[in-house]
Symmetry: C2
Subunit: 250 residues, 2 copies
DNA sequence: GTACAACAGTTGTCCGTACAACTTGGAGCT
DNA sequence: AGCTCCAAGTTGTACGGACAACTGTTGTAC
């Protein structure tokens, strides 16, 4: 059966599970690259590629001259797939994801939408509003705008489809990059009704712009979470910087 | 004069400025790796290392078979240094950072602090409370716990020192990795007094654990921002995943 | 015209080598 | 004991080559 996944991925996966299994406790030093290369029967370059992946996930440090050290605490970091899909994320935690599509509206792109989706202003887009639940309780309201091509696929989905992203994947729509902005906003009347909370309630807001492998925007979304239900975690290092802080001009 | 920075960094920097200068507009395709290698007189491997950095910053996509595409919109992403230091970040935006140290207390590590700093419970630590301002207006309250070694350095700083992190750097204390958790909490009495806002006001909370190159924790901090003042931005992709979502158990 | 097939172009993976830069621990000296 | 200094160990950087896998385009056949 053997998979078609590249060698360095297998090595990375193996090391990941070894760390998760506690073979290398927090603060422990990993074997040297040469040693790992020998052990797995691969070249040092391949080992380095695997270790770069672990470092990007914040699992290990690395510095010249010394062996790599396992970083404790970071613990479990979701994969990109789990982050992209609310459903997948929830299921991986043993929670039962639910969703109710409130509205699917064909519309004309506003200036903001046009900018983020890189389409001309006034172009045809689809606006989708959904309420997401964990084990039945509403947790998040999701307002997504899709360009026409993608929106048509979404509009064709049944209203009770739990995971839109998984359905889109089946149609060959891939999400590979996303840019997120996280801040706080008060709930408006609409949020309050959908989330069953008082208007003005502070919500954790995540705005997201996702693109496909070719760099074409495929969604522009604004999600609002009830406080206390989820938190966002980020790891960054001098090696791979992905997090930033921004003035909140809105 | 020439610097001691590695080759691939110069290439990456050059490409970054070229993109920023609009030489490759949003959606444009970068030259092929071979072409860049020829142009810079370096090997393809070095070019790939440079491009990997750009990809990690979310500046370009990359997929097998097709040339790399410049991702628009992501725009300016702060460097790790700017994220680490409130002062540096503020100054890079033309704002005047300020700070007031409210208290520096030697203390015994609580269970939580001990866990995050990887010291025995009850070990000597220093708790520092500061109010941070932008152009005079209070924006954030920062509650940081340092292990004894670092805390002693901080305690010796003048109360009106604007940037603690820059001072620590001068003493050879390096921060290379950080793990962040972002969510929302209501302001307690203390926050309200320091930030001059009503108690119960929702604040954007960032909890942070920073480590040095050896993987030793050097700070554990909880920062609370007034809403509307800052937002956090994150880029992630299937290639480098650093962002995650967490159940908010606290 | 439309669909299919071949082809050139491009990035991903993997190997090998060599040297530079840095850390660590121990030997040896005071 | 404490200090300096050295040597071994380890990661970072850079080169080179080869092939696999995929994309976009071109051109052919129907």
């Amino acid at each position: 059966m053997s998979s078609k996944s590249p060698l360095y991925r297998k090595v990375a996966g193996d090391l990941r599970t070894a760390i998760a299994a506690g073979e290398y406790g927090s603060g422990a030093r990993l074997p040297a690259e040469d040693e790992l290369a020998r052990r797995y029967g691969v070249s040092r370059g391949t080992v380095r590629q695997a270790l770069a992946a672990l470092r990007a996930d914040g699992l290990v440090t690395s510095r010249r001259g010394a062996r790599r050290v396992v970083l404790g605490g970071a613990a479990r970091l979701q994969s990109f797939a789990e982050l992209r899909s609310f459903s997948r994320w929830a299921r991986s935690l043993g929670e039962e994801p639910g969703g109710r599509t409130v509205a699917v509206d064909p519309a004309r792109a506003t200036e903001e939408e046009a900018h983020h989706l890189q389409v001309p202003q006034g172009a045809r887009v689809f606006r989708v509003r959904r309420v997401r639940t964990l084990s039945g309780a509403p947790v998040m309201v999701e307002r997504t705008t899709y360009p026409e091509r993608i929106g048509e696929l979404v509009a064709a989905l049944p209203v009770d489809a739990v995971s839109h992203s998984e359905q889109l994947e089946l149609h060959g729509v891939l999400f590979t990059d996303a840019h997120h902005t996280i801040d706080v906003v008060p709930a408006d009347r609409d949020d309050a009704g959908l989330l069953n909370c008082p208007a003005g309630q502070a919500l954790l807001r995540e705005r997201r712009r996702s693109t496909d492998p070719a760099g074409t925007p495929v969604e522009w979304s604004e999600d609002r979470y009830l406080p206390g239900t989820v938190a966002f975690t980020v790891h960054n290092s001098t090696a791979t910087s992905a997090l930033g802080r921004r003035l909140g001009e809105d």
